[in-house]
């Protein structure tokens, strides 16, 4: 009964989405307020219906109802409850339901936080999101129904893929999808603006917090996935350039470009067509990623479904959504007009250069991901493009991008001069060159790649320090008051940039100084790596809920002092008879000690791999900083003030650009923002 309620809710949700995707948009074109007004209740109804379907599926999993095919293929009676719930998105059909669910969450969020938007704009935005929802709901109901009954019912389920039985599974996919799908908001804003012909700085300002929010989720989602791969796959790697990873990385790159491009469009009115194209691009790449993962055109460790009907459906959907929006772009963009003029040396130019580099990077990832497919389509055979390609392409693209990151925030809008920039950044440059030359020698050895990576990381650090000092200079008020006078969005930028520096530092150090050994160990044997002694104390068998495990123990000491104990595991998931490794990791700020068990050898010996990973945690710490920066930027008061009323808000924004004005009038602004936040 419950699965049928879920199924029925999905059908109703499709009908509501059809209304949401058509009536408000037509209403906006005709200026019919009643039709436009339908958007908000429809968005809410859609959310309620999809949430009902979602809860029904979760309940079906929790209650172990193996008469539903999807449940029988993705869970098992011995699977712990939290994984039975997470198994909702463990397979193809359920991931689509999660996709639709999250899309409806974003749609409701837009309907709630869009009171300040003009009616036609809001109707168009919600309508476009409704149309996307139609595609996904249809896809589910036609070829990927998670509620389909299995006749006769299975006695027990085939279990969730053991790779996915990890706490990471509970958080990583929802986070990633929040990011992916979140770009649909920026996309809908762009399409609505193209439809209405209203591409101005107000549009850019409305889009900004939504885009940044999606970007924050995507950043955290990718970070979580990378961290998960690190401890779950047992290779000590944190990024594999796998097709599915690339599918999440491409929207991230374009989304990052979009955030910066939106800033220019809002502040200077430039780059309008380019910003719209990026907004379309970010979401198109999210959809393409879904296609690549779900259609089975690419082989990947993440590949789930290979049903050509599904592939064809998504392809048609892609053509309609992406092709349609690009055609709209080609039709409407020429009328957009250019924004303010700027010279070759100006913040606009630096941002544009960074934008182009990020977009090219995304395209080269796309090329690398699709290249095997292209060759195959041309009849040239099936191949894999791996890290050698991506590493070769990425370093030359990211080097200038990271270098420009140091200059961009310091350069003036419209017109800056090189000698002045050089004067202001000379210390930052000297510090980073010196660090790049000396630090590697202190750490062990110098190679050009280590030098380059350290130079870029410290270049961003040093120029950020310069930027903050310059911004806080002055003696009129206390330091605290001066800090408060700076917009939160600006602090967000600084923190996100420092996050990039921290990330770069982590990648450079771990790539340059990591070491590893693979040894055969008998109980009592000691292995040596990076100054540490690893004493193998043998392996004990243990039994988990749905697996049996061999748990090894390695006592780690340095100069005779015990430091930690690593407990790598080798698990055998009994239902699918699938072996899994669980690495034993001792994480720390300076380095990780990482061990994983290989195969049992004769006479009780085991093959053991031990890794020393200096500063690997900085990679993820950097990503967390980026996300924090994004959150801080969203919390900027100018986004909240705006809801009060349009005229007042415009005055405030203009003033907040000029620092003095903000210092003079903090009290007035605060009361406004308080009132508004209380209202929200």
């Amino acid at each position: 009964m419950i699965p049928e309620i879920g199924h029925f809710s999905l059908i109703l949700a499709l009908l509501v989405a059809l209304i949401l995707g058509s009536v408000p948009i037509i209403g906006a074109a005709r200026g019919n307020a009643v039709w436009m007004g339908l958007a908000r209740p429809a968005a809410r109804a859609q959310f309620f219906l999809i949430a009902t379907a979602f809860i029904c599926l979760a309940y079906t999993f929790a209650s172990k109802d193996y008469s539903v095919g999807y449940v029988a293929s993705n869970s098992n009676s011995k699977l712990p409850l939290q994984f039975r719930i997470a198994a909702v998105w463990g397979g193809h059909e359920g991931s689509l339901l999660l996709w639709a669910m999250i899309l409806s969450i974003w749609t409701v969020a837009v309907s709630v936080f869009s009171k300040h938007l003009p009616d036609d704009m809001r109707a168009r935005i919600l309508g476009v999101m409704g149309l996307i929802s139609v595609g996904f709901l249809l896809f589910m109901l036609v070829v990927s129904n998670p509620f389909e009954r299995l006749i006769p019912a299975a006695l027990d389920g085939r279990d969730l893929n053991p790779l996915l039985q990890d706490p990471g599974m509970i958080f990583h996919p929802p986070m990633l999808y929040m990011g992916y799908v979140g770009f649909s908001v920026a996309f809908a804003f762009a399409i609505a603006a193209l439809l209405g012909g209203q591409l101005d700085s107000a549009w850019a300002r409305w889009s900004r917090p939504w885009t940044t929010m999606a970007w924050v989720f995507l950043t955290l989602g990718i970070m979580g996935g990378s961290n998960w791969a690190y401890y779950e796959l047992g290779w000590g790697g944190w990024w594999f350039w796998d097709a599915v990873e690339n599918a999440s990385f491409m929207p991230w790159l374009v989304g990052t470009a979009l955030i910066h491009s939106l800033a220019v469009t809002e502040k200077r009115g430039s780059f309008k067509a380019w910003t719209v194209l990026l907004a379309i691009g970010a979401f198109s790449l999210s959809l393409l990623g879904t296609f690549l993962v779900r259609s089975g055109v690419l082989t990947s460790v993440h590949a789930f479904a290979t049903d050509p009907r599904r592939g064809l459906f998504i392809l048609v959907f892609l053509v309609v959504v992406i092709g349609g929006s690009l055609a709209l772009f080609a039709w409407r963009a020429p009328t957009v007009g250019r924004g303010g003029k700027f010279s070759v040396i100006s913040r606009e130019s630096f941002l544009l250069a960074n934008n182009v580099l990020l977009a090219v990077a995304a395209m080269s990832v796309l090329l690398g991901t699709l290249y095997p497919l292209f060759l195959d389509a041309l009849g040239l055979g099936k191949i894999s493009v791996g890290p050698p390609y991506f590493d070769t392409v990425f370093v030359p693209l990211m080097t200038p991008a990271l270098f420009l990151m140091g200059i961009g925030p310091i350069a003036r809008w419209k017109n800056a001069t090189l000698p002045e920039l050089a004067m202001r950044l000379r210390w930052a440059f000297a510090v980073s060159v010196a660090t790049a030359l000396v630090l590697p020698l202190l750490l062990g050895h110098w190679t050009p790649m280590i030098g380059l990576g350290l130079f870029l990381a410290f270049w961003i650090f040093a120029s950020s320090v310069h930027l903050v000092r310059q911004r806080l200079a002055g003696d009129r008020a206390t330091l605290l008051a001066r800090m408060k006078s700076v917009q939160r969005a600006w602090w967000g930028m600084v923190i996100a940039h420092i996050g990039i520096a921290v990330f770069t530092l982590g990648v450079t150090v771990v790539k340059g100084f990591e070491s590893e050994i693979a040894v055969r160990m008998l109980p009592g044997d000691v292995a040596h790596l990076a100054g540490y002694d690893f004493k193998f104390e043998g392996v004990q068998d243990s039994i988990g809920a749905n697996y049996t495990a061999s748990r090894g123990q390695l006592r780690v000491s340095k100069n005779g002092v015990e430091r930690t104990v690593l407990s790598p595991e080798k698990r055998l998931y009994t239902v699918q008879n699938m072996p899994m490794t669980e690495a034993g990791i001792s994480p720390a700020l300076i380095h990780d000690l990482y061990a994983s068990l290989g195969e049992p050898l004769e006479d009780g010996a085991w093959s053991v791999r031990i890794y020393h990973k200096p500063m690997v945690e900085w990679i993820w710490a950097g990503a967390v900083l980026m996300a924090l920066g994004g959150l801080l930027a969203i919390s900027d008061r100018r986004y909240r003030v705006r809801r009060k009323n349009l005229t007042e808000e415009k005055a405030v924004t203009k003033k907040s650009v000029v620092k003095k004005a903000v210092v003079k009038k903090p009290a007035a602004k605060k009361t406004v923002s308080k009132k508004v936040s209380a209202k929200v």
Binding site: W235, F240, W241, D242, A243, A273, L277, I280, G281, S284, F291, S295, V297, T299, S300, V301, P308, G311, L312, L315, L318, V319, I322, G323, L326, A327, F329, A330, A333, P334, L370, P372, L373, F374, L375, D376, A377, G379, L380, G381, K382, I383, S384, V385, G386, P387, P388, E516, I517, A518, G598, E599, S607, R609
Partner: protein
């Protein structure tokens, strides 16, 4: 107007490829190396770096040279077939580990099983250039006189193995 159409055109070209890609199977391609002697090399072995492997050592035998790498996803697909083939002991399989690290390669073989009589390490991919490797996996059938008779680009499938490679190997062995 024209430059604004560009994204759409690029996208449509890509869709064309994706549409074809949906209905594709790996196909055979003629290689300029077929009919020519296998390029010579002398590379260290994966498990014993002090020893080397060279195609010369194989003169007088029919053998398979399989180019693979631990980072190659398509290699995972063909690996079980290679393992099964090596258990049948019909033809010796030698591996060339392409642009890889020893630790990762060994780990990979530990996980999936080792079908190779020996593995040559082509760490910088130089020998791969001589062989015209433009992606992994690739498999070469080499006859008793050291001439490449067949080249499979992409993973070996059961079909290719039973219809192409094995009949060819049997014919060559009988010569």
């Amino acid at each position: 107007m024209k430059r604004f159409l560009l994204p759409l055109i690029i996208f449509l070209v890509m869709v064309g490829f994706l549409a074809v890609g949906l209905h594709l199977d790996p196909r055979e391609v003629p290689s300029p190396l077929v009919g020519k002697p296998a390029p010579a090399f002398d590379l260290p072995l994966l498990d014993q770096p002090e020893k080397t492997f060279s195609p010369k050592q194989m003169l007088g035998q029919v053998w398979l040279l399989n180019v693979w790498a631990s980072w190659c996803v398509a290699c995972r697909e063909e690996h079980p077939l290679l393992v099964a083939l090596s258990k049948a002991k019909l033809v010796p399989i030698y591996g060339m580990d392409y642009k890889d690290t020893r630790a990762e390669a060994q780990q990979w073989l530990n996980e999936g099983g080792n079908p190779y009589a020996a593995n040559a390490m082509d760490i910088d991919g130089r020998v791969g250039i001589d062989y015209g490797v433009y992606g992994v996996p690739e498999t070469y059938v080499i006859d008793k006189s050291g001439v490449i008779v067949y080249k499979q680009i992409g993973p070996i499938t059961e079909q290719v193995l039973s219809n192409k490679i094995m009949p060819l190997v049997e014919r060559l062995q009988a010569q």
